[in-house]
C-alpha cells in the first residue's frame, strides 16, 4: 500500500459498485443482477478504465476508505479483485491506515479468494447473513443456509480477517421478539466486530412489495394493525408495535455482548465503527466508481448511469475509452471539475447533478448527522456554516425537544429513542 508523500487535508472515500449477484433476494432493490464470468471480467476492465480516467481530479486527495459493495462483490474471482485494487493503489494516494471493506455473501467465497483479498489489502469483511433461521433465509430469497454462513465466517477468521461485520434483517415475515432475540444471541456469540441490523423496508419493485407492499402502505395510515392474513402463503409482517420492540431489544441484547449502537441500524465493538459509512453521515467527500455509483464531490451530488450498456460503451476496451481517459488527463482538478467534465461532453455516464446550496448542506448536516447516536455538534455546525444552529433550526429543535424526540447534552443534539422511531417525522422539518 502506498503511503502518502504529499501531505494534504482533503480526504476522499471510494465506493466501488459490483452490480452482480447469484440471484436477486426478495427484498433487494439494489442495482444488481445475475451475470456470467466473462461479463464480470469485462466489467472489471471497464471499472479500471473509469478509475484511471478519474484519478487526475483527485491528486490533492488522500483516500481514507474503500468500500467494495454490491450486489455481491465476493462473486468476482480473486484475480479480478486484485487487478481492481492494483488500479486503485496505482491511481490514488492513500492515508496511512485506510479502512478497506468488501461485501461477501456465503456461497460465493473460497479460502483462496480470502487469501487473495488479504493480499490486496482488504482488511474488513461485511458478510450478508440476514437470518440464522434457514426457513427465514429461504423466504428472503437467500442462496445459503446458516451452516454455509458459518463456514464462510470461519474461513474469514482463518484467513486473518480481524474486522468482520454481519448484516442482519429484523422484522421479517413471521418474526417475533423471541425469534429475533435468538438470532441476535447466536450472532453475538460469534463475536464479530460489527453488526448491522436493519428493520425490513418493503421497497417498491421487489418481490416483497407485491406480497407486503400494500400491507405496509395501509399500516402507515390506518390503525397500524397489519393484517394477520398471510401473504401468498408467507407469514405476515410483525406489526409496528412488535417491530419497535424488536428494535428496542436489539440495542439491549447487543449491549450485553459489548456492542454499542452508533447509528440507527449499526452496532460495533469499541473502535470498530465503520469509518466509511460514518463518512456518509458526516458528509465527507466520496467518489463512486462503477455502475450506478453515487458521489459527493465538492458539495455536488451525482451518480453514474445505471445503464450497463452505456457504462460499458464509455469505459470499454475500444478506442472511445482511450479517448475518454486521454482527454480526461487534460481536465484540471478544481472546484469546477465535475461540471466542466460533464459539460465538455467527455463524460456522459454521470447523471443527476445536484449542486447543494448552503441551506441544503445545512439540512443534510442535520438529517445525516442525527442518524448517529452521538448526534450532531452545535459547535461544528457554526464553524462549518458561520451561523448558530439555533438561529437556523431553533424553532424545530425546541419543538422536538418539547415533543421528546430530540435531546441536548454537552453541546451535542441527538435523537431520543422515540425520536429514532419516528425520525422521518423529525427529519422532514429540516429539509
Amino acid at each position: 500500500m502506498c503511503s502518502s508523500w504529499m501531505m494534504t487535508d482533503r480526504e476522499l472515500e471510494l465506493y466501488v459498485h459490483i452490480p452482480f449477484c447469484v440471484r436477486k433476494c426478495a427484498y433487494c432493490d439494489f442495482l444488481s443482477f445475475p451475470s456470467g464470468e466473462r461479463e464480470r471480467k469485462a466489467y472489471v476492465d471497464a471499472l479500471i478504465r473509469e478509475i484511471e480516467s478519474r484519478k487526475d481530479n483527485f491528486t490533492d486527495c488522500r483516500v481514507s476508505t474503500v468500500f467494495l459493495g454490491g450486489g455481491t462483490p465476493s462473486l468476482l474471482d480473486g484475480e479480478d479483485t486484485a487487478r481492481l485494487f492494483d488500479a486503485l493503489y496505482r491511481s490514488f494516494t492513500f492515508v496511512e491506515d485506510p479502512e478497506i471493506t468488501i461485501e461477501a455473501n456465503p456461497g460465493t467465497v473460497t479460502a483462496e479468494k480470502m487469501i487473495s483479498w488479504r493480499k490486496s489489502g482488504i482488511r474488513r469483511l461485511s458478510i450478508g447473513l440476514q437470518s440464522v433461521n434457514d426457513e427465514g433465509l429461504r423466504m428472503l430469497g437467500r442462496i445459503h443456509t446458516y451452516r454455509e454462513f458459518l463456514d464462510t465466517y470461519s474461513l474469514a477468521r482463518d484467513a486473518g480477517f480481524g474486522n468482520i461485520n454481519i448484516d442482519l434483517i429484523s422484522a421479517i415475515p413471521g418474526q417475533t421478539v423471541k425469534s429475533w432475540e435468538k438470532t441476535l444471541r447466536t450472532v453475538a456469540e460469534l463475536a464479530p466486530e460489527h453488526i448491522s441490523a436493519y428493520s425490513l423496508i418493503v421497497e417498491e419493485g421487489t418481490p416483497f412489495y407485491n406480497l407486503y407492499g400494500e400491507e405496509q402502505q395501509k399500516g402507515l395510515f390506518s390503525d397500524g394493525k397489519i393484517s394477520s392474513l398471510s401473504a401468498g402463503g408467507f407469514p405476515p409482517l410483525p406489526d409496528e408495535e412488535e417491530d419497535r420492540k424488536i428494535y428496542e431489544q436489539t440495542a439491549v441484547i447487543l449491549n450485553e455482548y459489548g456492542y454499542h449502537r452508533y447509528e440507527i441500524s449499526n452496532y460495533a465493538k469499541q473502535g470498530y465503527e465503520c469509518r466509511h459509512n460514518l463518512g456518509y453521515w458526516e458528509r465527507k467527500e466520496y467518489l463512486g466508481l462503477g455502475l450506478g455509483a453515487a458521489s459527493l464531490i465538492r458539495e455536488t451530488r451525482f451518480h453514474n448511469t445505471a445503464d450497463m450498456k452505456k457504462y460499458m460503451d464509455v469505459f470499454s476496451d475500444g478506442t472511445p475509452a482511450e479517448n475518454v481517459s486521454g482527454e480526461r488527463n487534460t481536465a484540471s482538478a478544481g472546484t469546477g471539475e465535475i461540471q466542466s467534465e460533464n459539460s465538455a461532453g467527455q463524460d456522459d455516464v454521470r447523471e443527476e447533478f445536484e449542486s447543494l446550496s448552503r441551506e441544503e448542506q445545512m439540512a443534510e448536516f442535520m438529517i445525516l448527522g442525527l442518524r448517529k447516536t452521538a448526534g450532531i455538534s452545535a459547535e461544528e455546525f457554526s464553524s462549518l456554516y458561520g451561523t448558530g444552529i439555533k438561529e437556523v433550526y431553533g424553532s424545530q429543535i425546541r419543538r422536538f425537544e418539547k415533543e421528546g424526540l430530540l435531546t441536548e447534552e454537552d453541546g451535542m443534539i441527538r435523537l431520543t429513542p422515540r425520536g429514532i422511531d419516528v425520525s422521518n417525522y423529525v427529519f422532514c422539518e429540516f429539509v
Partner: protein, 604 residues
C-alpha cells in the same frame, strides 16, 4: 338585413333530455344555415365554456342568430336560444323559454321519452310555446322511431305524426327540421311603436363592454342612447350598443325592435343590476307593467369555501367577485372557521351549481380550495318567536332556545325501468322519501313521485340513483316549501376538540348512523400522528360514536448510505409537502380532503 319583417323571424329553443342530442342539433342548424362554414365549426359551438363542453351540459343560456334561405325562396332570421339543461337552473330555463315563440323537442329514437323530456315539455307548454317534436339518432341500430312517436303522442300528448326522423350527427333530414321551423313555429308579435318592453333572459360580463344583457324585445324598439330602466332592480343606464348574436361573437346593429332577440350594452358594471327575468323599458316612456314571471332567484345550497393556502384569501375573494359578475345566482359572504381560517359562505342554486363554481375557481383562477359539507337553509323557530334562516351549522342556536325546526322539501319525479323500481324505492325510503304515486308510462317504465327532504339529495343522491339503476333512472325535482322536522346538529371532535368546519345538521333518526360513518371515514383520512387521536361524533355534549387513530410508532429509514441520500431526501421533501396540505386543528394535522369526506359517506 337592417329592417326585419317580423313575419320572417323565428325565435325558438331546443329542449331535450340530457344526451338526446340537443347541442348536436344546434350545431347542425347553425352549420346548415350557412352562418358558419364546416371548417369553422368547433363541435358544439353554443357551449362555449370549457367546462360546459367537458360535461356536455349547458350552464348559461346562449343565443345565436342565423339566416335561413327556405325552400319558398325567402330568407328567415332564426334566433336559436340554448337553455341550461339542469334542474339547478330551472328558473333560467323558464326565462329563456319565455324569450321564444316555439320549441323543438328532441327525443332520442332509442331511449324515447325521459323524465327531463317531460319536465321540459311541460315547462315549454306553460310558456305557451308551440312544441315541434324531432326524433334524433335514427342512425342508431337500436332506434325505434315508431315506438318513440307513439310514446310522444301517448305520454306527452302532442302530435308526432310528421316529426322529422333525423340524425343530427350525420345531418340526415336536418333540412326537414329547418323547413318545419319556418312552417310550424309562429312568427313573433308585438308593436315596434309601443313603449319598450324587453325580457332579460341572461347577462354576461365582458371586461371591455361591461354587462351585456341578452334580451327578447316584446314591444317597442331599443337603440343607442335609449334611456333604460330595469323595472325590478330600478337600475338605469343609457344604451351604448345593440346587436344580434353571431356564432361566438356580437354583431352590432342600429336597433332592436319588437320580435327580435339580441343584446344591449350600457356600461353597467354589475350583473346584479340586470336580473334574469327583469323587464327593460324606456325610462322616459315606460310601459304600463312589467312582463310576468320575474322572481329573484335564491340560493338553495350553502357551503363554506376556504383557500387551501390561507394567504390566498384575497385571491379567492377577487375570483368570487369576478364569477359573480357573470352569475347573479352566486352569493357569498366572509366567514371564519377555527379549523379553516378565513373563507366565504357561498350560496348556490344547487349542487351542480356548487360544483361548477368550485371547478371554475380551481381551474380558471388556479385556487386550491377546501369545501365544507353543503347545507340547505333550515328554518329555526325559536322559543322567543323569532324565526331564523340557518345556512351554516355552526350558527345553530342552543337547543334550549329552539322551539322547532323546518327543512326544505322537494317534489321528485324519478323515471325508471321496471326492474329497478324496487331498488329506487329502497333508496328513496333510506333518504326519508314520502311515496306519493307511481304511474307506468309504458309497459316497462314508470314514473315515481316522491316528496324528499332537500338535504337528503344534495350530497350524492344522483350518484346513488345512477348506481342502483345501472344508469337507467333519471331524476327531476322542484322545491315544494318547508316541513317541520326533527333535526340535530352533529359535531365532530378530533382529539377532544370540536372542529367547526365538520359540523353538520342531520335528521335525528339518522344521526347515529351518520356520526358513525363520519368517524370511520375520518379515521381513514387522518394520518397517524405522534399521539393517539380520538375522533368522536357528538350531539350537544353526548358522544354518539368514536374511532381512534392510533399513534404513529414507526417512521424511520433503516438504511441511508451514499447511494440512498438523494432519493431519501426527496422522500422527506415529499412528506413535508404532504404536511403543508394539512390543517392544524389544536395539535392535530388534518388533511384538507377530510373536510370534504362528509360528502361521500354512502359510497359503499
Amino acid at each position: 338585413m337592417s329592417v326585419i319583417d317580423q313575419k320572417k323571424i323565428r325565435n325558438f329553443c331546443i329542449i331535450a333530455h340530457i344526451d338526446h342530442g340537443k347541442s348536436t342539433l344546434a350545431d347542425r342548424i347553425i352549420e346548415m344555415t350557412g352562418l358558419l362554414t364546416s371548417r369553422e365549426m368547433q363541435a358544439q359551438v353554443l357551449d362555449n365554456m370549457d367546462l360546459e363542453r367537458e360535461r356536455g351540459i349547458t350552464i348559461k343560456a346562449q343565443a345565436v342568430r342565423t339566416i335561413y334561405k327556405a325552400d319558398d325562396g325567402e330568407e328567415y332570421m332564426f334566433n336559436l336560444i340554448d337553455t341550461p339543461g339542469h334542474v339547478d337552473f330551472n328558473y333560467e330555463v323558464s326565462r329563456s323559454l319565455a324569450a321564444c315563440d316555439g320549441a323543438i323537442l328532441v327525443v332520442d329514437a332509442a331511449q324515447g321519452v325521459e323524465a327531463q323530456t317531460l319536465a321540459n315539455v311541460y315547462l315549454a307548454l306553460d310558456h305557451d310555446l308551440d312544441v315541434m317534436p324531432v326524433i334524433n339518432k335514427i342512425d342508431l341500430p337500436s332506434a325505434d322511431p315508431d315506438r318513440v312517436k307513439e310514446e310522444i303522442e301517448d305520454v306527452i300528448g302532442i302530435d308526432a305524426e310528421d316529426a322529422p326522423l333525423i340524425s343530427a350527427k350525420t345531418g340526415q333530414n336536418v333540412h326537414e327540421v329547418l323547413e318545419q321551423i319556418v312552417k310550424k313555429i309562429p312568427a313573433p308579435e308585438g308593436d315596434p311603436e309601443a313603449p319598450l318592453k324587453a325580457l332579460i333572459f341572461d347577462s354576461v360580463y365582458d371586461s371591455y363592454k361591461g354587462v351585456i344583457v341578452f334580451c327578447r324585445i316584446k314591444e317597442g324598439t331599443v337603440k343607442k342612447g335609449t334611456p333604460m330602466l330595469m323595472m325590478a332592480t330600478g337600475a338605469r343606464a343609457d344604451v351604448v350598443e345593440v346587436g344580434t348574436f353571431g356564432a361566438g361573437q356580437f354583431i352590432p346593429c342600429d336597433e332592436l325592435s319588437a320580435g327580435m332577440v339580441g343584446y344591449i350594452t350600457a356600461s353597467l358594471k354589475n350583473v346584479k343590476d340586470t336580473h334574469v327575468g327583469d323587464t327593460i323599458t324606456n325610462a322616459e316612456r315606460p310601459c304600463a307593467e312589467p312582463l310576468p314571471g320575474y322572481k329573484k332567484v335564491n340560493p338553495m345550497v350553502y357551503c363554506g369555501l376556504y383557500p387551501a393556502d390561507g394567504a390566498k384569501y384575497p385571491d379567492l375573494r377577487d375570483a368570487l367577485e369576478k364569477l359573480q359578475l357573470n352569475d347573479a345566482a352566486l352569493q357569498f359572504e366572509p366567514e371564519t372557521s377555527v379549523a379553516l381560517g378565513f373563507g366565504f359562505r357561498c350560496g348556490f342554486l344547487g349542487l351542480l351549481h356548487l360544483e361548477i363554481i368550485q371547478e371554475r375557481l380551481e381551474r380558471e383562477y388556479n385556487l386550491d380550495l377546501v369545501t365544507t359539507a353543503p347545507s340547505v337553509i333550515y328554518k329555526i323557530h325559536k322559543t322567543n318567536g323569532e324565526v331564523i334562516d340557518l345556512t351554516n351549522p355552526t350558527n345553530m342556536p342552543d337547543p334550549s332556545e329552539i322551539d322547532y325546526m323546518e327543512e326544505p322539501m322537494v317534489k321528485a319525479e324519478i323515471m325508471v325501468t321496471s326492474e329497478y323500481i324496487g331498488a329506487i324505492m329502497d333508496l328513496c325510503q333510506e333518504r326519508r322519501g314520502i311515496y306519493q304515486s307511481m304511474e307506468y308510462i309504458e309497459e316497462k317504465r314508470a314514473v315515481l313521485h316522491y316528496h324528499l327532504p332537500l338535504n337528503e339529495i344534495i350530497y350524492d343522491f344522483f350518484d346513488a340513483l345512477k348506481s342502483r339503476s345501472r344508469g337507467y333512472a333519471s331524476f327531476d325535482y322542484e322545491m315544494m316549501g318547508y316541513q317541520r322536522s326533527e333535526l340535530v346538529k352533529l359535531d365532530i371532535l378530533i382529539n377532544k376538540e370540536e372542529v367547526d368546519a365538520l359540523s353538520f345538521i342531520v335528521f335525528a333518526g339518522s344521526a347515529y348512523e351518520r356520526g358513525r360513518k363520519m368517524c370511520e371515514k375520518l379515521k381513514q383520512e387522518i394520518p397517524r400522528q405522534l399521539f393517539e387521536i380520538p375522533i368522536q361524533a357528538a350531539i350537544g355534549s353526548k358522544i354518539i360514536a368514536r374511532e381512534t387513530v392510533k399513534a404513529m410508532r414507526k417512521d424511520v429509514l433503516a438504511k441511508c448510505y451514499g447511494g440512498d441520500i438523494s432519493r431519501k431526501k426527496k422522500l422527506l421533501e415529499k412528506q413535508k409537502e404532504g404536511k403543508k396540505r394539512m390543517r392544524q386543528v389544536g395539535n392535530v394535522e388534518i388533511p384538507q380532503k377530510a373536510f370534504m369526506s362528509v360528502l361521500k359517506l354512502d359510497d359503499d
